[in-house]
Symmetry: C2
Subunit: 314 residues, 2 copies
């Protein structure tokens, strides 16, 4: 599990350990949290390696005796890409190449990869299916994940790699450490009277609860063999930013004045509408159990119970 | 002009010089040929920098006072990708990132990029349009070019870069130094009685003559402003490998026995059918002047007149 100390990675570590698997987590703790691995560390089937994916020597040595790689480590920050363009290249594209090469030299061929709905750029078809029209990239983050997808598929063709590429919507839930719920809660905790909202609040986004995300990944990996498969992961609904703000402020019991920065998107490369067609993964028997609203509420509960994360976060 | 000493790059150098432009060629001569720049070197409007795109210091210094970048340097070898997976990553993806960063720090925003029809993987729609269904990559080469395309589009969105991504079919003509005409001619020169053919010879491919390719690139760059545009470049026809062999052997006056290695493709990642829909670039007024057969014949003539290239080639 690369990124094994991260939000999704550590949650998947716990899930796989609970299912009786032996799990090796690899993380450089650039954004991962040691506290997320406390439970795992008590399990003898768990091993942690503190390492960077750009350290190919350590990485190659770590993949001995591994059956499958869940590659979740990434620079997951879509918004600040233009501030440091090399970061997505290094931590996503090159890091993924290093993972694939480490798998190849160790004879490991099964892989799950966390991609993103951002690879659709500004989609023209909603809900957006996996075989949507060939998109033009709109963010450095999406471009780097697209590059990773291409590498993985090419390794599939060249070296017989198999497994799944999962294109996530935004994931919410326990251990969530960045994103709009995080930003809004931190802001409202500091000042409950005013909330600054990027864009005009009409941006429509999809969110998936972490528990549903993990189930989908496991279903995908269990039920696909042979060539690399691509699956969208999301819910059958979307919400507007202002809807989510309504749920958050209601739960917190605050009534801030909303200050919109204006425009139909929050930042350069922001996508004003993300809504994925998840028919393909649903055909394997998976369905999300939580609504977007429930996911937002659980996320907020988690953040309220873990105030230390607010200081650690982005 | 990155890759300014290469087949397409040096041809475009000559064309741009003939049109009165000032041209700076940047090439590491890994596959470029000094002989291709003899004519250019006699022109005071031409400068050559011998440098590698991984040498960011030299690259950044070279892009001062540049209006537009034609980024043609690449590892253009689609067939041997699995023998050295890092090569496509370094020479295509990372090199392109370095070009984009050098442009950004120098305030250069116009770009033409040589991509490939290989980014369509094994297309499901023929002729394949630019907005074909989101493809799965089948070669490390295609994956690396897709990564470059994504980076370029993201730089367009983030930093206002403009220009064209051209998805080429195989290009033929004078200064051609690798590919099937090269391989077949070299083989028949050594032994005109037998010709080994990868696959079953039924693979259907498109080819475009270099002169037509250059015209299309210039038309695209002249007529598009604003966001990054993607254009397929090819002819409205395709041929089978055995058709091309027929033209080559007829021109050489030889009648080899054909030994097919078998299977519907020549190598891992070979695409048995490449045929691009070029309606979009044709709408700008461009049309190819030479047929595929004429392109093959001119290529063969050029190779016969330049036997020294057969030893230099791959």
């Amino acid at each position: 599990m690369t990124g094994g100390a991260g939000f999704i990675g550590s949650s998947l570590v716990d899930r796989l350990l609970a299912e009786g698997h032996t799990v090796l987590a690899y993380d450089n703790f650039s954004t991962g949290q040691r506290s997320f691995l406390v439970s795992a560390a008590a399990n003898p089937a768990f091993t942690l390696i503190e390492g960077d994916l750009l350290d190919t020597k350590r990485l190659n040595a770590s993949l001995r005796d591994v059956d499958a790689v869940y590659h979740l480590a990434a620079n997951a920050d879509v918004r600040f890409g233009p501030d440091h363009p090399a970061k997505d290249l290094e931590q996503n594209t090159i890091a993924t190449f290093n993972v694939l090469e480490a798998m190849r030299v160790n004879g490991v061929k099964r892989l799950a990869f966390s991609s993103t709905g951002s690879v659709y750029g500004e989609a023209q078809v909603f809900p957006t299916p996996e075989d949507a029209p060939f998109p033009l990239q709109t963010s450095l983050y999406g471009a780097s994940k697209l590059a990773c997808e291409g590498l993985i598929a090419a390794y599939g063709a060249a070296f017989g790699f198999e497994g799944c590429i999962f294109r996530f919507v935004s994931i919410l839930g326990e251990r969530y450490t960045h994103g709009h719920v995080f930003d809004f809660y931190r802001s409202l905790k500091n000042d409950p009277t005013t909330l600054r909202v990027l864009g005009d609040g009409s941006q429509r986004k999809s969110y998936l609860y972490i528990g549903d995300c993990l189930s989908a990944m496991l279903v995908g990996m269990e039920q696909t063999r042979g060539a690399i498969q691509v699956f969208n992961l999301g819910t059958d609904h979307y919400c507007r930013v202002v809807d989510s703000i309504g749920w958050i402020t209601e739960q917190l019991g605050v009534t801030p004045r909303l200050e919109f920065t204006g425009g139909d998107r929050g930042w350069v490369g922001d996508n004003p509408f993300i809504f994925l067609d998840c028919t393909k993964i649903r055909r394997l028997g998976w369905a999300p159990k939580l609504t977007i609203r429930h996911g937002v509420e659980r996320t907020l509960n988690f953040l309220r119970q873990n105030p230390q994360l607010l200081e650690a976060g982005a």
